[in-house]
């Protein structure tokens, strides 16, 4: 589970940067609904990833203890979180642009792939050194 914690920390570090940039652009540019939608989508996908990491840790701990894991990976909660975002874009179209919301949704999943390759590269490097 240390590998999962390491990836989670890297994921948070890597996704805070674009989120901060989106918020900065939301403040300084006139395209406020676009960047608000982007930040909303990216924030929801970050929440989804962190929630998934938490559930994986719980399942892993239960499985390591030798008992049968009863909880799932929380797919319904993650879907409802996205539906909540869609609802916000429905309710406040003058604040959030739905196109940028849809663009922001896959952001953290792309970052997850980058983190995975990054971790693999570091592991390979440490194996070569050690």
């Amino acid at each position: 589970m240390e590998a999962l914690d390491l990836r989670r920390r890297r994921m948070i570090t890597l996704s805070i940067i674009p989120l901060f940039i989106f918020l900065l652009l939301w403040i300084i540019t006139p395209y406020r609904p676009f960047f608000a939608g982007l930040a909303l989508g990216a924030g929801i996908s970050l929440c989804n990833i962190l929630y998934l990491a938490r559930r994986i840790r719980i399942i892993g701990e239960v499985a390591a203890a030798g008992s049968q894991p009863r909880s799932g990976t929380g797919l319904l909660t993650r879907i409802l979180l996205v539906v909540f975002g869609v609802g916000l874009t429905f309710r406040y179209p003058e604040w959030f642009d739905y196109r940028s919301f849809l663009l922001g949704l896959p952001m953290c999943y792309v970052l997850l792939i980058i983190v995975e390759y990054w971790s693999k590269g570091k592991e390979r490097l440490s194996n070569r050194k050690g």
């Binding site: 996205v82 539906v83 975002g85 874009t89 429905f90 849809l102 949704l105 896959p106 997850l112 792939i113």
Partner: protein, 77 residues
Amino acid sequence: MELGVLAGGIMIGLAALAAGIGNGLLFSRYLEGITRQPEAQSKLFSQAMITLGLVEALPIISIAFGILVLFGIVPPK
């Protein structure tokens, strides 16, 4: 509006189908892997779960798209 409902339904349904196939393939390979190498189970488990998150991203994003199409925010061309 009718086309939108049809498009949204097909979008969500196909994404669920694809995610189901993806999850099935992923866990069959995972079980195959831990049967061959039981000592690699903890390493494979975290890898499999990360991939599960990636596979499940597709229906989640598709549901967002589908709802927008279903309720007519994004008109089908």
